[in-house]
Subunit: 299 residues, 2 copies
Amino acid sequence: MRIGAIEAGGTKFVCGIGDELGTIADHISFPTEHPEVTLSRAISYFKDKQVEAIGIGSFGPIDLRPESPTYGYVTTTPKAGWQNFDFLGTLRREFPVPLGWDTDVNAAALGEATWGAAKGLNSCLYYTVGTGIGIGVYLEGRLVHGLVHPEGGHVPVRRHLNDDFEGICPYHSDCLEGMAAGPALEARWKMKGHELSADHPAWEIEAHYIAQSITGAILLNSPEKVILGGGVMQQSQLFPLIRDAVRRNLNGYVNAEEIADRIDEYIVPPGLGQKAGLSGALALGIAAAQSGLNSGSRC
Amino acid sequence: MRIGAIEAGGTKFVCGIGDELGTIADHISFPTEHPEVTLSRAISYFKDKQVEAIGIGSFGPIDLRPESPTYGYVTTTPKAGWQNFDFLGTLRREFPVPLGWDTDVNAAALGEATWGAAKGLNSCLYYTVGTGIGIGVYLEGRLVHGLVHPEGGHVPVRRHLNDDFEGICPYHSDCLEGMAAGPALEARWKMKGHELSADHPAWEIEAHYIAQSITGAILLNSPEKVILGGGVMQQSQLFPLIRDAVRRNLNGYVNAEEIADRIDEYIVPPGLGQKAGLSGALALGIAAAQSGLNSGSRC
């Protein structure tokens, strides 16, 4: 198989070609500009590649409801030019092949479940903690969509006792994203996350928020693996802090060895590393090719 | 079809007989005592009923992992006699028919998705707010199990500004259940919930906690319907308070007409009323009969 993959982030696009084994033979990356400019570059890349299908994991919010007149659109994003942009339709006009379409974090969750840290499992959550926070949700062997699609980055969180930062989410002020995304770290400490030392108190506070949302997500969804990716999670000192806080929060209530005895293997970085997003888009493309849909498909 | 159904609650058991249309022809109810006493009564009830299958929605925690040696057991409950009790095995020895087995709230979610308020939808959450709080999770047409099973009643919640009640959860003190289950209401106000007037400030505080957990659950799982059952939700003044708080919390972020324009039809009481639990167990029994498993089945 020769499958196209697009990791469509709000900051950069990655386009690549891969196969059903998850091998990515080639890829390019370019900044996300106005959609006409950006999609033209993506289309040029795939033009002579003879792909059988293309999978797209996109920043959002996006329309995932096949019966909706705006299915395949990016919807209410504040990103200039992308509001109500027909992403899938633009590709469909150029490439009459099956197209897989989902959120960037759902794609990454599927990639991790197919070839990465959750391989062989029926469920995982994939967090990206970076410019924003997103949570991909894969349960009972399926990506979760529902009413719109998961937007777990905006869940309410309890404030850390030593934190009076007001939060920066324009919708909710002090939701998870408002308190713990990269820009929140920078606004709170007046320097970028990667400039803070590994033993700075920032990380204990950061871990508090991420761990609290993981605690809630474990209780509500009982995932078999929790995968933490994105730029902020490059700060590897966060992992032990988060694991300890999750275990402390649950306080023995969820009776599973995976949490009680092996939490180091339960809350983990992406098995696919920086390729989780592109691999996930590839997995969406493979699923679309297998289901044979030519108007975008859901996994 | 002639299917048995057991709604196995921590306070009472309901056993019934129904068919594939969801009609319940007969049922009995008795208090939950020691498991030997209680299961004997259930077994006597079904003994001469010639059921093709039995579905069981049980209080928990329970073991839902088919590959586990304690599959079908009630596990770490504090309820006397029920710890590590082989519920499914006890029934299997008496009734060599397919057995469906899930949590009480997952059963109720399936019942509501099959015949009730979420009929025709691919997803819903079913809350019971009573002696405890449980959340059944039905997404992408399937009940969610994962590592153990959802235990959403114990999610962390932000404290209401006018509430200094310490919470009564033995594991987490002030989690959702610790702050908002029936016994928490009673401990906070020194009288039972049904003795508080409909305009008592208790209800605004109660709605705050329930709405906050619904807000988080909508953001993480994007369900197509949220169904609120259980004794505390008999206080119908809670519904408008909860809907208003959810809409205020989301603040327009989840861009769905169901929430923006029709939240009265989105956050609703059980369509099956008090029969949600028993109907759900019936739906589990039907699924077991259809899949033909005789060792308990998962829907």
